[in-house]
């Protein structure tokens, strides 16, 4: 059951930043800064990012997750973000929603991955209750058994970030840049990207239905305070060295080389003399 502030209790403030086609790399830098340098709650909603970009989790290895030759050839940026979880390719059809919260501002919520995942899953269940067969499936957001949103978290002593990339739409050809992950949820059942994913635009009438619905549900839990989008630029000036990184071409080439050397080593072990 999602917990609400008790009647008469003042809801904690949630600063809301709405962006459009903001760079996902800059968004992740901003999130890290707000997580570690702010004591306030923040919700960032970014309607798309202009350039198709691959975003891996903190432990992601390009050689295992990405078709590096194609990525280098087509100059697709590859980011390693500060949170956990898997790999996505995002573009202007992706809607990003990020919650950055003080652990004590949601009554009874313990700052661990599964309780946070449960709370946010129920939050989006409220947003989407009139549309489709919404499920939190093994930590993914799905309509039925088809994933439409990937999420991840980063938890500090007193605060946490939960961020989601929602597939409003996606370019099927972009999926070719990603390998099938070694660590995959059971419900994926070895399906290809196309068979596993679904587009939100097939379920909801418009992006604004989802975005405004999210903001309305946010208002049930928090006192929402809109922040001017140009303030995001000012917030970006807060000094904090990010751990989120854009991988360089030499790093990608090295990953390709290492993968190829490992492959040669494995082949030689089993080679018939």
């Amino acid at each position: 059951m999602v917990s609400y502030p008790a009647r008469g209790v003042i809801r904690p403030v949630m600063n809301l930043i709405k962006l459009k086609e903001f760079s996902i790399l800059k968004q992740l830098y901003l999130e890290e800064k707000l997580l570690r340098s702010s004591s306030e709650n923040w919700c960032i909603i970014n309607n798309g990012t202009k350039q198709p970009t691959i975003v891996m989790g903190v432990s992601g290895r390009p050689s295992e997750l990405v078709n590096i030759n194609s990525v280098i050839r087509d100059q697709i940026p590859v980011i390693r973000r500060f949170s956990g979880g898997g790999t996505v390719i995002v573009d202007n059809g992706t809607i990003f929603v990020t919650l950055i919260c003080n652990k004590d501002d949601i009554p009874g919520l313990q700052p661990y991955p599964r309780p946070i995942m449960s709370w946010t899953g129920q939050f989006y269940g409220e947003v989407l209750r009139e549309f489709g067969d919404f499920h939190l499936r093994e930590n993914d957001y799905a309509f039925g058994s088809r994933k439409f949103g990937g999420n991840a978290q980063s938890i500090t002593k007193n605060r946490w970030v939960h961020h989601t990339s929602f597939l409003w739409d996606y370019d099927v050809s972009n999926m070719d840049y990603l390998k099938l992950p070694m660590r995959a949820p059971e419900y994926r059942s070895a399906r290809s990207h196309v068979e596993f994913l679904c587009r939100m635009k097939e379920i909801l009438p418009s992006k604004s239905t989802f975005i405004e619905g999210t903001i309305e549900t946010l208002g049930s839990h928090f006192s929402v305070r809109p922040i001017q989008s140009n303030a995001a630029t000012n917030l970006s000036n807060i000094s904090h060295p990010p751990s989120t990184r854009l991988l360089t071409r030499p790093e990608l080439e090295q990953a390709l080389l290492s993968a190829s050397e490992n492959s040669d080593t494995n082949s030689s072990i089993y080679a018939v003399p």
Partner: protein, 162 residues
């Protein structure tokens, strides 16, 4: 720059005996968490064992049960300075990175490199084989401000009662 210890753990990481990793959503473990005498504890669920000039640090059984299967560990390099209450690294579990904070200030003298290939040691043996760093404390009196086993156990019980 932090030394990144890459994980090659599979989904079949070792489970702890009390089975808290099998607790369904919303997950908080009501099983008994192992709290050892001879250790001191923080309210953010790290333990420290001070022997001679070295303090060994890790996360508690309570913490690993709540975090789930650890698949990746990020630790500092030897020689790095750590500060009481500040983060020195992180663990990844269930799509989340969680900061690990140092119970004491000092200099990192050793890092548990076994966590590179076997991050699940944090789940299976959080107080022994799953230790994370060893520190030469700069202010041993900081240990006096930490929780003893009884106080820490009470904290865990109070948190899980919510």
């Amino acid at each position: 720059m932090a030394l990144k210890l890459w994980a090659s753990s599979t989904a079949n990481a070792l489970k702890i005996a009390c089975g808290s990793s099998r607790t369904p959503f919303p997950a908080f473990s009501r099983c008994f968490s192992n709290v050892l005498d001879g250790h001191k504890y923080t309210s953010s669920h790290e333990w420290v064992k001070h022997e001679g000039s070295v303090a060994t640090i890790g996360i508690t059984d309570h913490a690993q049960g709540h975090l789930g299967d650890v698949v990746f560990v990020e630790l500092p390099e030897p020689g790095t300075s750590v500060k009481q209450g500040a983060g020195f690294g992180s663990v990844e579990s269930v799509k989340a990175t969680s900061d690990v904070n140092s119970p004491v200030s000092g200099e990192v003298v050793e890092v548990n490199t076994k966590l590179t290939e076997t991050p699940g040691l944090i789940n299976s043996s959080p107080h022994e084989d799953g230790w994370m760093i060893k520190v030469r404390p700069s202010s041993p009196s900081e240990l006096d401000s930490l929780l003893g086993p009884k106080e820490y156990k009470k904290l865990c019980e109070e948190e899980d009662a919510h």
